[in-house]
């Protein structure tokens, strides 16, 4: 299995992603520049975090208009694994692949911290290995997930809430919500479940030397989707 790690000007989690996928998950992975018109030969996509295009206009807005996103859209529609973390999540929302949008944190501060995450559903390739509340780092200034009431209902009805910010006991309390996201939502799935977007960084916790390996449980979604 070969994963395309998409690079935009301003991506800065691309190396973490490539190393996590290759060294810790044992997959093949390559960098792909945003002008790439074809992703044939790849089985999945990782859209990394960073500050693509300097967050011009809105976070992820310019990247969503990049050439490579036509292929990411095709992968999403064909049921192949697509994961976007942090700015990658913003890009997937801006491109319409995932519902909702990300706004500035309620506290107006950039937050760099470990958070507890609890799956909103286990019935997805990206969460089926996440058998408990996990600890994964966040690092963002614009991570407040918003969606209108109808959209929120649809997310719950279709089992598309992948992760919520919780306390260590798995309870989604106001205190455990770092950025003011609606319903403590940290990550969402597309309707098919093959696309995951989340603000936390699973690629930053795949080795014990990095402080934890909980990210591997999430990234295992690539194996679940392509192995199936």
């Amino acid at each position: 299995m070969k994963i395309a790690v998409v690079r935009f000007p301003g991506s800065n989690c691309d190396q973490d992603a490539l190393k996590a996928l290759t060294e810790d998950l044992g997959l093949e992975a390559e960098y792909v520049w945003h002008e790439t018109a074809s992703l044939s030969g790849y089985d999945g996509v990782f859209v990394p975090g960073g500050f693509s295009y300097g967050d011009y206009l809105r976070c992820g807005a310019m990247a969503a208009a990049a050439t490579v996103m036509n292929e990411v859209r095709r992968f999403a529609a064909e049921g192949r694994p697509v994961l976007g973390a942090c700015n990658g999540f913003q890009i997937l929302c801006e491109s319409g692949i995932l519902p909702g949008a990300l706004l500035q944190n309620v506290g107006r501060r950039f937050i760099c911290d470990d958070v507890y995450l609890t799956p909103g559903t286990r019935r997805s390739p990206w969460t089926e290995q996440v058998d408990r509340t996990v600890t994964i780092p966040i690092a963002h200034g614009e991570g407040r997930y918003v969606i209108d009431a109808d959209g929120l209902k649809a997310l719950h009805d279709n089992d598309q809430v992948a992760f919520r910010y919780t306390n260590a006991l798995g309870e989604p309390t106001p205190q455990s919500n770092p950025n003011g996201s609606v319903d403590n939502i940290a990550g969402v799935l597309n309707e098919k479940g093959n696309v995951l977007g989340l603000m936390p960084h699973p690629e930053r916790c795949t080795k014990s030397i990095l402080g934890g390996t909980d990210g591997l449980k999430v990234l295992a979604g690539y194996l679940a989707l392509v192995g199936a």
Partner: protein, 80 residues
């Protein structure tokens, strides 16, 4: 050549964190009459022709995100 002025605003139902901060700063400066501040964007396009449907398309595709923002626009200068 006409200009198109596009105004992009966060939907009224959504909290504008930056606007709130600016509002607090104005109050600190003694402008107690300020109830609320909302920050939007003004984007100016120079175009050689003005076609309403295409401007709307540009707004909803890229300049504004319809999930979180509303837009209006006005044409300034000669309409070709």
């Amino acid at each position: 050549m006409p200009s198109v002025r596009v105004y992009v605003r966060l939907k009224p139902s959504l909290l504008d964190s930056a606007g709130r901060t600016v509002g607090e700063a104005l109050k600190n400066l003694g402008y107690a009459e300020v109830e609320d501040v909302r920050i939007g964007k003004l984007i100016e396009l120079k175009v050689d022709t003005v076609e309403d449907s295409r401007i709307r398309e540009m707004c909803s595709k890229l300049l504004a995100n319809p999930v979180i923002e509303d837009f209006t626009y006005e044409v300034v200068g000669e309409k070709a």
